[in-house]
């Protein structure tokens, strides 16, 4: 418990810095957010001032920062003037789609990555191992958005098997299981594109961790006691290899979230990533700040969760 409290305490100044940085960064940029509200024709002069007042943009910058900090603490992420909606509502509305995409990708990457990594380590030097290593290097090098384009090109355009846009049938998906399948068709390509990089990373780390553990002295000791290979794998190898793998998965959670910005844009997935891109082009300050904050908080929390999990597995952690 103390450990968790200490880690939480440690995260607070980090989060504070993130909030301030986000604000400063966005506030320091050129251009006036009000102009984006103005359409094709000159705006009436009074209107601009009214909008500025409405969103507190006429206040000095430090007042805006204080106001923002106060609001963040009370859970109010501000009001999006481009969308004319509270930011929290906006984000909440997109959260489900993003969670679905990122968690699916993470699950896919973890399951496949761990399986491939273990197989490669078990049959080190075989063609399977070379294959997995090939996938790992490639996956880590291919730009995921380009992979997304290729998937669309092959599976949507050339083969016509899967849809390339959105997250459900335009004309209302069927109910129940059929609806689930319909949904899956939309989920598959973006989840694949998003997961490939992490699959590669996880496979690679799993392989390395397994190799390291399998050559560890205590494995030899276990074998010297007559333990069978299966028992050695399960009781010792897996458990010990889990720590680095979990670390990689946990530390990348936030980055998958960030990476979904590209993938959601390529696949028209109605999530936070696309909201981010839209708000960037609309210069929707509160939304940009909120998303940056959210991703950063996710990173911090994911790291925290990873550390806690790590400690649960490894009794040595935290004793120093």
């Amino acid at each position: 418990m103390w450990f968790v409290a200490r880690r939480l305490l440690h995260a607070v100044p980090l989060l504070f810095c993130v909030v301030v940085l986000n604000f400063v960064l966005i506030a320091a940029t050129p251009g006036d957010p009000v102009t984006i509200l103005v359409g094709d024709f000159p705006a009436p002069p009074g209107y601009v001032e009214q909008v500025k007042r409405e969103f507190g943009l006429d206040q000095p910058i430090y007042v805006q920062l204080m106001r923002y900090l106060g609001h963040v603490l009370t859970g109010d992420l501000g009001y999006s003037f481009a969308n004319r909606q509270p930011v929290s509502t906006l984000i909440l509305g997109r959260l489900a789609a993003t969670l679905e995409l990122t968690l699916t990708a993470l699950l896919l990457a973890s399951l496949l990555g761990i399986a491939l990594g273990m197989l490669a380590a078990r049959w080190r030097g075989s063609w399977l191992d070379s294959g997995v290593q090939g996938i790992a290097s490639t996956g880590y090098s291919i730009p995921d958005f380009w992979l997304g384009q290729l998937l669309i090109l092959v599976f949507s355009i050339w083969l016509g098997w899967l849809p390339s846009q959105g997250n459900m049938s335009v004309r209302g998906a069927p109910e129940g299981f059929a609806g689930f399948l319909d949904h899956l068709r939309y989920l598959l390509l973006p989840a694949l594109a998003l997961s490939f990089r992490y699959l590669a990373l996880i496979a690679r780390i799993t392989r390395a961790a397994m190799l390291e553990v399998l050559s560890a002295d205590f494995i030899l000791a276990a074998r010297s006691r007559g333990a069978s290979e299966t028992s050695v794998m399960i009781t010792h190898a897996l458990r010990n290899a889990a720590a680095p793998v979990i670390t990689v998965i946990g530390y990348n959670l936030g980055f998958i979230l960030a990476g979904s910005a590209l993938i959601e844009t390529v696949f028209g997935w109605p999530g936070i990533g696309r909201l981010l891109f839209d708000s960037i082009s609309r210069r929707d300050y509160p939304v940009m700040m909120a998303i940056l904050l959210m991703v950063s908080v996710t990173v911090v929390l994911a790291n925290l969760a990873t550390d806690i999990l790590h400690r649960a597995i490894d009794p040595r952690v935290g004793d120093r």
Binding site: P13, L14, C17, V18, L21, L25, I26, T29, P30, G31, S137, T138, Y140, S141, I142, P143, F145, W146, Q149, L150, I152, L153, I157, L201, I205, A208, E212, D217, P244, V248, G254, F255, L257, A258, G259, A261, L262, T265, L276, F277, I280, S281, R283, M288, I291, L292, V295, S296, V299, V300, N303
Partner: protein, 293 residues
């Protein structure tokens, strides 16, 4: 059958001398990667001679498919030669990758070196700062900064470098702080060597191995990040880059797939080469251990 007392010390000891080069040359993939990087560098350097066309000049022959006469990788929507653009694009990608890695490694070495060598509050402060930078989602932040402050080659390089150094810093710090306790460092200190000289002459040469490895991986990461920015239309419009080629190809995916295929392949292969090289360097410099990311 005795295990070395300090595996790191041994790994570093083995990193010197001809064994390293021999091990590197033994890896066929590493040689392939090195060859490809060499090829890309050569093409980029000789772009005006090998491109065959001005990459910025098009004409009425728009969207010719590959293997068309005079345009063996085809042409883009404005009739510009895809091969010429790919060759010139290599210049930007390489420049961004190499310069960024150089920046990132320099900052990382300074910060990590100071933190690892002095320890104490210097270490705490510097590591907190780098931790803070690591918490920031790199791509999202780069995206926002470039979108807000406008694009330009140097801005892109600067932003990527600023976001890339912490990893190197942490690595250098770990190496330095473990090296600091090594007997040979103690010996040098007893011998009257000053802090600066000690850091520069005794410690840094010994952390060169991990630095070279991360440097190579940094190049790959930077190229990828630049491509992502370019893809979002945030690349420098006055230079041809693979990322912005992909951005322009996006809307022609259905009718001119080659506009997307070749720059994408160029990115993937170049990044792959730097990654493979980084791995091979790591294996060669440090045969007993593997770098974890």
């Amino acid at each position: 059958m005795s295990a070395p007392l300090n595996p790191q010390a041994e790994a570093i000891a083995t990193s010197r001398g001809p064994g390293f080069l021999r091990r590197l040359c033994r890896s066929r993939t590493a040689m392939l990667a090195l060859g490809f990087i060499g090829l890309v560098i050569l093409l980029a350097a000789l772009a005006p001679f090998v491109a065959g066309h001005d990459p910025m000049v098009g004409g009425d022959d728009a969207m010719l498919p590959p293997l068309s006469p005079g345009h063996w990788l085809g042409t883009d929507d404005l009739g510009r030669d895809v091969w010429a653009q790919t060759v010139y694009g290599a210049r930007v990608s390489l420049m961004v990758g190499l310069v960024t890695a150089l920046f990132a490694v320099s900052i990382g070495v300074v910060v990590g070196g100071l933190a690892g060598y002095y320890g104490g509050w210097v270490d705490t402060v510097l590591m907190r700062v780098s931790e803070f930078f690591q918490t920031l989602p790199r791509f999202v932040l780069a995206l926002i900064v470039i979108a807000l402050f406008g694009s330009g080659l140097w801005k892109v390089i600067f932003v990527i470098a600023i976001l890339s150094w912490p990893q190197t810093a942490r690595l250098v710090r770990a190496s330095v702080s473990s090296l600091r306790q090594q007997p040979f460092v103690d010996a040098a200190r007893v011998g009257g060597m000053g802090d600066r000289a000690l850091l520069l002459r005794e410690i840094l040469p010994n952390v060169a191995a991990p630095i070279i490895v991360t440097g190579s991986l940094d190049v790959a990461a930077a190229i990828l990040l630049e491509a992502g920015l370019g893809f979002f239309g945030l690349g420098d419009p006055n230079h041809i880059s693979w990322g912005s080629m992909l951005n322009e190809a996006q809307q022609y995916l259905r009718i001119a797939w080659w506009m997307s295929l070749f720059p994408g392949l160029a990115i993937a292969l170049t990044v792959l080469s730097f990654n493979v090289l980084g791995d091979a360097l790591n294996d060669a410099l440090n045969p007993r251990s593997r770098v974890r990311s």
